[in-house]
Symmetry: C2
Subunit: 130 residues, 2 copies
């Protein structure tokens, strides 16, 4: 909870914007929208985005280069993310599936690698687009 309160001015502006959207936003579309709030340069946006990703307030949809708010209040750290993406309407939903999370969390390869994070993206067609 206190994480939210210690966000800086730019971070708050950008998180607000992303939280108002239920779909992922792209960096330059964010930039366009926050110009009226005095944020003028891409770097200002990317700095805020990077921080927000780091603290788990938002996630990056890697295959789309876009950023979506995390609705899971428990998810303070962006270390385990699962998304479904409709390839027709581009609707993106974050998935919280206990069983799946367990499998992913418990996964061990045979190379002795130590995992700290994962990102899973499912692609297909949503109900509306089938």
């Amino acid at each position: 909870m206190q994480k939210q309160e210690t966000l800086s001015k730019n971070q708050k502006i950008i998180l607000d914007l992303i939280e108002k959207s239920d779909q992922p936003l792209k960096a330059y579309s964010i930039l366009f929208d926050v110009k009226k709030k005095g944020i003028n340069a891409p770097l200002q946006v990317y700095r805020a985005l990077n921080k927000l990703v780091k603290i788990g307030k938002i996630h990056k949809i890697e295959s789309r280069n876009a950023f979506i708010a995390c609705k899971n209040s428990k998810c303070q750290i962006a270390k385990a993310t699962v998304f479904s993406i409709c390839e027709s309407c581009e609707d993106v939903t974050e998935i919280h599936d206990h069983k799946l999370s367990e499998h992913l969390r418990d996964f061990k390869d045979n190379k002795g690698m130590k995992y700290t994070k994962y990102n899973l993206e499912f692609f297909g067609l949503c109900k509306k687009c089938i």
Copy 2:
């Protein structure tokens, strides 16, 4: 098998290069390397890459914007990919884990979405970098 033989000139040149590397290559580094073979423009590279991804000969590492050859002869279609990525040395390995694949293949959300594809990337530290 016959897919390989029907690749075009540019597609072959670029697949050869990627297959010689055990690590992912970036589009513009590929472009640099194939200039001596007469491929001069980014678009020529991206067109070949897109085709090779589509037929499953290579995969895109989304979090790195890089392309790696698929070593799995069965994997003709890029529809189910799992990678481990070392965040220190950037070593990337494709993972084939039967049990994990099963769980991912069988996953159903509660939204009636029809999945055709997924991509999973694990991040952490490899044995050498721990």
